[in-house]
Symmetry: C2
Subunit: 310 residues, 2 copies
């Protein structure tokens, strides 16, 4: 057992990561503003990373965690791609990482995104950590990539290990209601038409519980550098919508093509997962159908946790 400090522990990805860490027997301290939203078993470090980062620094000096997993970030749906808060998160991350290393920390896992890759050159090839060009086209992608560059270079000067988990499309517990899976599930469950694009875009969908377990596995491995966190399975968006249609019994309400496809949306965005499965040794356990069934059931039984975390 090692001491892990997890930021964003009350957010979408952070909560699932905490569950994965606890299941593996780790001791987890979770940074966040809302300790009630952290999984049971997490020791809360109540702090606003943007507003009052000093509380975290105080904790670092006292508790001297060995591993830092930095899942906190602004990810408000529809806004985060170009939110100027991406600048503040990058700046705060650099201060956090420096304080962690100076307090004796040994390993850092940062959370990145498939939006770091150059989406204009993919064709039908999966994104590979070592060879796909990194050329983010959004402020969010640029901030995550810049953070990874800097944290990696800094760790290189200090002997601290750094891995960077690049997330693809996640869905599941605690997802913001305006995102794809919740918005489809909510519309169909409410008996309302669900207007979508053609749905021809091919994506890599992962249940957030698997993603959390994968991040925990990366943190517990000695792998450094970038690691795609995804299933490696190409799925058309249309197939996700149709599955949700079946699960809700309201396929009749799906209106494919009612919204135009976006010209800047890549046709194919899927991960190569050779590093995750081969080097880290993690394989997802939740099929897309089971994951969507779980998500639909959660929205059926109530509004679910509409958290604005990662």
């Amino acid at each position: 057992m090692s001491r892990v400090l997890l930021t964003g522990a009350s957010g979408f990805v952070g909560r699932a990561t905490a569950v994965g860490l606890l299941a593996a027997g780790e001791t987890v301290a979770g940074v966040g503003r809302n300790p009630a939203a952290m999984p049971a078993g997490v020791t809360p470090v109540i702090a606003d990373m943007l507003g009052e980062p000093d509380a975290v620094v105080g904790f670092l000096r006292e508790a001297r965690p060995e591993t830092l997993i930095h899942a906190a970030w602004s990810t408000e749906h529809g806004r985060y791609w170009s939110d100027p808060a991406n600048l503040d998160w990058t700046a705060r991350t650099l201060g956090l990482v420096r304080a962690f290393v100076e307090a004796g920390g040994r390993r850092i896992v940062t959370i990145g995104t498939c939006a770091e890759y150059d989406w204009t050159v993919l064709g039908g090839e999966p994104c590979r950590e070592a060879t796909t060009p990194l050329r983010p086209h959004t402020l969010y992608g640029a901030a995550k990539h810049a953070m990874a560059l800097l944290v990696g270079a800094y760790c290189g000067t200090t002997g601290v290990a750094h891995a960077h988990a690049r997330l693809f499309l996640l869905y599941g517990d605690g997802e913001q209601p305006a995102r794809l899976v919740p918005s489809l599930a909510r519309s169909l469950l409410a008996g309302q038409p669900a207007r979508t694009t053609s749905g021809r875009q091919v994506r890599d969908f992962m249940d957030v519980r698997d993603a959390g377990a994968a991040i925990a596995a990366i943190a517990r491995s000695d792998r450094t550098g970038a690691v795609n966190v995804a299933t490696g399975t190409p799925v058309p968006v249309r197939a996700v919508a149709e599955t949700i249609g079946e699960l809700t019994g309201r396929s009749d309400l799906l209106e494919f093509g009612a919204l135009p496809d976006r010209p800047d949306d890549p046709a194919y965005l899927v991960a190569d997962v050779g590093i995750l499965t081969g080097e880290v040794g993690f394989r997802p356990t939740i099929s897309l159908r089971d994951g969507l069934r779980h998500a639909v059931a959660a929205w059926r039984s109530g509004p679910g946790a509409a958290d604005h975390g990662h």
Copy 2:
């Protein structure tokens, strides 16, 4: 005439940039801790960018400059490649840029470095802004590249223009005494042996006065994106040392090969300057021989300005 805010205005690159701006008729406010070291004609904004950045924010809100040239950074010889202060400078830069844009700023020029390019793939090719891979191998290079990525992406969301000047090897007025040209000049002027590597490495040397004029020209142009600031002329380090030997009359004291070549030092590091000369319309005016004569004369007449700025 537009209002330009120049950070690092008392540093190596900042001073030369201020001179270039003033010569072009610009109104220049200079941020720095040491107003006495700023060129006459610069309006000082006394502030410690790392310690007390709020003074700059106050100025921005009041004076509302149109253009920001950000030349401040830690560049202490022998230390800056892996100085953790690179993290702090990146973080401060993001805050500065955001405050500048929110105060109505229109154009930003950041200062980058040839160390952003992947030095392991150059062969005998010049570095080209659009096609040479960007893969910094140092914390300094990573920080400058991360800054450019983030500032560029942020400006893209706000309509503010951003250019990024990538400096190659500069020498001249105000250079730190331990760097190549001053250390050779000082040794030979003092009648002491100058131990060097083989000197076979090929570099792109530019007088800092030309570099300052080039940065001023970039700021006054409407060019966006990366611009190499260099001469485009390949020169072996040995030729620089031999010229200093001639200028001091002490070629006999040069000991080539007395120090081992560093294995991570690229054999050829020269800029393609098509964008600078073609798009920006700037051409250097100081020959290497004239520039070195000027530098040697400065070290002959005294210790010179051994400033620790950029």
